[in-house]
Symmetry: C2
Subunit: 479 residues, 2 copies
Amino acid sequence: MKVDKITELFTQELKVVNMGLETFADNLTELGVEAQQVEWRPPAGGDPEVLALFDRLEANTTLDIDAANAEAVSRIQQGKPTLVDIGIASEVIPGMHKKLILHAGPPVEWQDMAGPLRGAVIGGLIYEGLAKDAAEAEKLAASGEIEFDPCHHHDAVGPMAGVVTASMPVWIVENQTYGNRAFCTLNEGLGKVLRYGAYSKEVIDRLNWMAEELAPILRKALELRGPIDIKNIIAQMLQMGDEGHNRLRAGTSLMIRELAPYLVMLDEPKEKLSRILAFMHENDHFTLNITMPACKSVIDAARDIEGSSLIVAMARNGTEFGIRISGLGDRWFTGPASVVDGLYLPGFTADDAARDIGDSVITETTGIGGFAMAAAPAIVKFVGGTPQDAITFTQRMYDITVAENDTYQIPAMDFRGTPTGIDVRKIVETGTLPAINTGIAHKDPGVGMVGAGLVKPPENCFRDAFAAFVECYTKGATL
Amino acid sequence: MKVDKITELFTQELKVVNMGLETFADNLTELGVEAQQVEWRPPAGGDPEVLALFDRLEANTTLDIDAANAEAVSRIQQGKPTLVDIGIASEVIPGMHKKLILHAGPPVEWQDMAGPLRGAVIGGLIYEGLAKDAAEAEKLAASGEIEFDPCHHHDAVGPMAGVVTASMPVWIVENQTYGNRAFCTLNEGLGKVLRYGAYSKEVIDRLNWMAEELAPILRKALELRGPIDIKNIIAQMLQMGDEGHNRLRAGTSLMIRELAPYLVMLDEPKEKLSRILAFMHENDHFTLNITMPACKSVIDAARDIEGSSLIVAMARNGTEFGIRISGLGDRWFTGPASVVDGLYLPGFTADDAARDIGDSVITETTGIGGFAMAAAPAIVKFVGGTPQDAITFTQRMYDITVAENDTYQIPAMDFRGTPTGIDVRKIVETGTLPAINTGIAHKDPGVGMVGAGLVKPPENCFRDAFAAFVECYTKGATL
């Protein structure tokens, strides 16, 4: 029987499937034999150390990582981020106090902070009245009297420098399925703003206006209207050319529609109401500071799931890029923050650019932003690409995720759900890194925004996280 | 030399391009000869009468139709539709008076009017106080005392029944390049509304509120803000999932953003302002009545160009579909209004449907709407298609147009300009009919909207227009 099969094989017309080296297939084709070439590369680029880690993981037969990830991604799918209120940071953010400054990304101390984060800290201290100028603020920041902590350690997220101080107003988004909350400051607009490291008088004045006029009035309008379903808003945005991280023109339009009928009902001077509506209208990134805590509130419900290799946080502080894994608790795995590949505002070049910074990559972590790039071809056009590039970006992300979003859909991909739930195993196995859209800050404190573009995170943090995951879940296992 | 060429032909290996009957190519392929089949059909389906018309047209060697069309489409490209004001129909629409009722589509008299148009006329007469109920209105409409005229004869357009009466408020859009203006009533929302033939008390009450509160207040806000560039708004809409005819979610959002900061500045009771903002927010078709006169003001500048075969109006009155040709002055060429292929609201079926009605096809005539379907895949999904179907719809329209729009671009087609400037010659030659999106009214007066879908216009009106074009431009020519 066995011989017959072999005889059969060598006597019939050959149709060859060739994996790996293409020259074998080329030779066959030249000889007139049908040969199908399959692009294949060994997992993890064939790195023996990483392959050993995969072997070790497989040896722990009681661990069902896929089931743990299914549970994690099901929590992501079921999340219902809802905008419920605006509060003052010190009153609503757990552990917030006057001498604590929250910042974007993984932990970093004053002496290691990048220019834009330093600038924002200086601005934050001046805004809080703890320093009267930059020199005093720098001295205070270096004195040890001020505590620094990641936003992520306090249920918060912050775009770019991400600085949150005690008296700043913050959006409150509640995940109505799981009851947890997430916080984010209100968006200041583009250009010379605190989150890009600027701290001039106009920056501080704007922050004061936001705390004294913008936030209290928006809060009243929101109270009158009732909670806003942000999952629905994000789903609509993706049908309207936004990806929720760097393009939010539709999202901001939709938020204005939701709030305007209630804003006008308030007993407030019309000049104030008009200024608020114009402020929202003139800043398409207004809604970024709502999609970010929406994503944070959703993914926080997928944290701390035993055995899950899903990434539950990606964040950068301008010095380091860091990630957290669901099954590995509060640990950060970090690598050096990358240089952004972007376009620059007039008068600036790549030499002016700070490295990758901000918590806004929480959007990618939750399946929108760069992962939904195909929904926002205008962004790729801005950086010189084509709509097909945008689709390719999104398509690649299915290789490193475990599910398709059941609510966030991409029209240009036949309404396919966005790639959701990043599995660190898949990143290490395929070598495909998460696609991230981002803004670019000036490298020096006090300047502000200089451009926008795309960025690749450092590969080592994913490898380190994977190694730690294997270590954690194979204790006592023998090979 | 000639013999040599023939010898060469019959001695070399054959590579055949076959046009027409596929069986010739099939035979060659079977014999191992490389044969490329080209899909080809004779122009105008080989109709000898139409082919004779093309021959006759060619015989007039002094006529340069392409140059005339280039001039017409250049006027379309250069048009700058700008929302400048709101006025009362009798005060701003040329020739408007108390006993004149404007309607959608080509001319039609009371006895030939379709159900929804009759319903809207009844409602219009009640609204004007010329009749106190439907019976009285029908009697008056049939008496000869009321004059009926197409909106198109008065620089106006109207969606669905398109009824405009003397005291209705209308948007005023000015084509700032050419100075001409176009008019359109304000959108009432969906469901039981006058334009779908409903005339109950709620319909008349809403029209009164629109004239007494909505229009005067919007007018003041617009005055405070200054003119709004509608070309820019439409260009943005197409980047945000709208096609400007049946999907206007982005367009309505953008208009709310533009107006809200000025609405709140007015000395008006806040309840009124909130009602207006909520009315716009709850009706995504609000902006249709702005994109329509924008398109009308643009294409009117391309009318009456000697020798141009471009279509400068398509419109339906529920009984007939009619078109006008730039080089043929004020004449209408009509065919029977079609049945719409659509989806129905709960409780209604195709048996309830009126035939195709409305001036909204002015959007397609000017290169958006169905011609920009690829920009709005959500519409095709609604009627059961795929995003690829939407792209196919738009792609076909390039076969019957003379240019690509230089401002309105489609992201999913690599930002290609929308197909713009419909050439009646190309429709007759290819047999490809314009793609039109539309709403569906109930066939009886007084009911309202029952669905939405896609519709094919009647082929004969394009043939008739082409025959008249040939007749007009070949007088005295000999064959």
